[in-house]
């Protein structure tokens, strides 16, 4: 039975059911992003003290919905699409158990809708973290559990697909690096979901009265084994997408298969220890536990990210130099396709993730430095650099690639797509930098009113803190505009974009497969190994000197900023 089509532009083979699943998951993710984006505006316009848009109850409700939709539903739906792409499409194989994959998708959908309804009803404004003993409605937890079970099924379908590809010998040698990265993400996802089950199932039972007590500290430790690890799925997934994008756009090969894969392996071993980042100023946790876990066992996962930070742009530089862009340190970068949103989105995501997200994350995850940062607005500033730019912008960039390849549509409003990564990155960067500043001045996260209206006592933050929150607000609005541009281009392309396949019907964009005649391939040819590289480029064994300079710049920023924070810590009250 013929079930593959080949994309005439990219040469990728799409299995019929895998293709529909990718589309359905990507569309569901975009819907979650839309909700998250609308909620984001409510959050940012309330924290911008001069505007102070929403009343307190609505603010906390909107903040809860923003967090869950952005950090969980949007990224994980999209990651399911990436898992199916990295297995079925990249390995030219049929998808394992498509019915199970659909069941997983439906569960995720039901879970996401159920959780959103619970938050919308108003008695589950417990924030994404839902710390006990504050209680949400039972279907708040049940929704998350169903969503997680669905995602777990997706992970196993991915693993099954790898097995089928191996059995059917659809490729020669080892799986590609991008698939290896996706495998990393799937393994971390399974760990994450298991942790989530361990804590959310009892919490659900507690919410319906079968268990009478959940220890608040135990909840924090285990919940964060899910909460933080789920963000590590994102890291593994978006780094894989970075490798995919440099491969597709520049014909790049990894500088070293061994180094890049080893770095992914370090993620599997150490990234999930990051639960500790949230427990550093909690009662009664031993210093040894905190030091070992917060540093991912001597920063070995940070080492992995620093390796990818060199090898991702490094592979691009080597490929660009091989094409003759060898002048000076940075011709390869200057002459990159800056007008192509796939590239600009990827590159901004890489730089902002590394320079802002990575550095602030390590600094605030340092055991003692966390004392001056915990629960300030510095924390959301950090994870907007990692998730809202690092992951989300990467996925946006990938979407611009998928619209023609997967959805077979031309981009709608290409000029807007071209501008979008610039607007989104500029807005996000502005918001992040000012919120980092406000956090350093002690402004709290998850806080409705920095004027403390109605409090018996009073406190006034310095004027600079207000100014930073306002400038952060302006940045946030700009970022929301960038997000809206993305959704407009994406949805517009699916509805109004010119069809690249004559036989494509209206519904095919939304997940319904193309006409049967398009799926005219029984089994694609075996995927051959990548061609051997012709020769090495660069000077004195330094293949990518420009990237090396960028990496050293990152290191200098890192070292300076790290010790500035120790210095700041040294100025607060002695305690022990």
């Amino acid at each position: 039975m013929a079930q593959f089509r080949v994309c005439p532009d990219s040469g990728f083979y799409f299995d019929k059911s895998a293709e529909s699943l990718m589309k359905a998951n990507a569309v569901a993710g975009a819907v979650a992003l839309l909700i998250a984006g609308i909620m984001a505006l409510g959050v940012i316009l309330t924290r911008w003290q001069e505007v102070h848009l929403l009343p307190a109850d609505l603010f906390y409700q909107v903040l809860t919905a923003h967090g869950i939709n952005a950090l969980i539903f949007w990224v994980i739906f999209f990651e399911m699409a990436i898992l199916y792409f990295a297995s079925s499409t990249l390995l030219r194989t049929r998808l394992a158990a498509p019915n199970w994959a659909w069941a997983g998708f439906v569960l995720m959908l039901i879970g996401a809708v159920m959780n959103n309804i619970a938050v919308l009803q108003g008695n589950s404004s417990v924030m994404m973290t839902s710390y006990v003993p504050m209680q949400a409605a039972p279907h708040f937890y049940l929704g998350l559990i169903l969503f997680a079970v669905g995602a777990l099924i997706g992970c196993f379908v991915f693993l099954g697909t790898l097995v089928i590809a191996k059995d059917d010998q659809t490729y020669q040698g080892s799986i590609p690096l991008v698939t290896f990265g996706a495998l990393t993400a799937a393994i971390i996802a399974i760990f994450t979901i298991a942790s989530g089950a361990i804590i959310l199932v009892p919490t659900f039972l507690w919410s319906i009265g079968y268990i009478n007590h959940i220890d608040a500290e135990m909840y924090r430790v285990i919940w964060w084994a899910m909460g933080h690890s789920s963000q590590q799925i994102n890291v593994a997934a978006h780094v894989s997408v970075w490798y995919l994008i440099v491969g597709i756009m520049f014909n790049a090969r990894p500088m070293s298969e061994k180094v890049s894969r080893f770095a992914f392996l370090l993620y599997i071993f150490f990234l999930q220890l990051a639960s500790a980042h949230h427990i550093l100023v909690d009662p009664g946790i031993s210093a040894e536990w905190k030091i070992f876990n917060t540093s991912y066992a001597m920063y070995l996962a940070v080492l992995a990210s620093m390796i990818h930070g060199l090898t991702v742009p490094g592979s691009m530089e080597v490929a660009q130099r091989a094409r003759g862009l060898t002048k000076g340190m940075f011709e390869w970068l200057r002459k990159a396709p800056w007008g192509n949103p796939v590239f600009s989105g990827f590159f901004f995501a890489l730089v902002i993730f590394g320079f802002i997200g990575g550095i602030t994350g390590v600094v605030m995850g340092t055991e003692q430095i966390n004392l001056i940062i915990h629960n300030t607005i510095y924390v959301p500033a950090h994870f907007h650099a990692t998730v809202a730019v690092g992951t989300t912008l990467t996925f946006m960039a990938l979407t611009y690639l998928l619209i023609p390849v997967l959805f077979r549509r031309q981009l709608f409003l290409p000029w807007m797509a071209k501008l979008q990564p610039y607007v989104f990155s500029a807005g996000m960067t502005m918001m992040i930098l000012f919120l980092l500043g406000a956090g350093t001045l002690g402004v709290s996260r998850r806080h409705w009113d920095m004027d403390f209206t109605g409090a018996a006592l009073s406190f006034e933050y310095p004027g600079t803190a207000y100014m930073m929150m306002s400038l952060g607000g302006i940045g946030g609005v700009l970022a929301a505009l960038g997000g809206a541009m993305y959704l407009l281009v994406t949805v517009g392309s699916l509805i109004f974009g010119k069809k690249l396949e004559a036989s494509a019907g209206f519904l095919q964009s939304f997940g319904v497969p193309l006409a049967d005649s398009v799926y005219n391939i029984e089994q694609p040819e075996q995927l051959a190994r990548a061609p051997m590289p012709v020769e090495q480029h660069g000077s004195g064994g330094f293949e990518a000197p420009g990237t090396f300079v960028l990496a050293l710049a990152l290191l200098v920023c890192f070292v300076v900023y790290y010790f500035i924070n120790w210095d700041y810590l040294a100025s607060v009250w002695p305690m022990g």
Partner: protein, 179 residues
């Protein structure tokens, strides 16, 4: 192209790694180790470390401890809240509840106190401003930290863990006087 194709060398793990990557991995590893050892170093030589002393408790038990201190050392009232001036160097108690930090403490500069913290209901965040010291306050756990206020002045405890609709009204005070 081979980022998404099977590696060109079948035995890719035997392909030697380039000099540039080796140097970078070396630099990065050294930096990682420096960052790692900064934490134990600070435990020995630094002055800001979080104590790990903590006890399991209940709201009733902890509340009684707080009230006992208030009864002994109460020296005034502000906005309906007791102001307590415990002896220098003693155990001082503060509790978080919906929505106040209770009671108000008066401390002396450069004296070390054992500050006890716990919550009577939900989780709260002890955020001392403007020094910017932030601690998680968890119900069921009594945390004891040694603090040495080294500057006189008025300090505010902001709650920075979401605790319901009145979260933004949850403030407390610590006054530090010259001795």
């Amino acid at each position: 192209m081979s980022t998404f194709l099977p590696p060109s060398d079948r035995i890719w793990w035997k392909v030697p790694v380039g000099r540039q990557e080796i140097i970078w991995i070396g630099i990065a590893l050294v930096w990682c180790l420096i960052m790692f050892f900064m934490m134990p170093y600070w435990h020995v030589y630094g002055k800001q470390n979080l104590s790990t002393e903590a006890y399991q408790t209940t709201p009733e038990k902890y509340g009684a401890e707080v009230e006992a201190m208030i009864e002994k050392y109460k020296t005034g009232e502000q906005s309906g809240m007791p102001v307590v001036t415990p002896p220098a160097g003693s155990d001082v108690y503060m509790l978080g509840r919906l929505w106040q930090w209770y009671p108000i403490l008066k401390l002396e500069k450069n004296k070390t106190y054992r500050l006890h913290l716990s919550s009577m209901d939900w989780q709260h965040g002890f955020s001392l401003q403007p020094v910017n010291i932030n601690l998680q306050v968890v119900p069921g756990y009594e945390m004891v930290i040694k603090i040495t206020p080294d500057q006189a002045g008025e300090y505010t405890v902001v709650c920075n863990e979401f605790c319901g609709i009145g979260h933004h009204t949850m403030l407390g005070k610590i006054y530090v006087g010259e001795n």
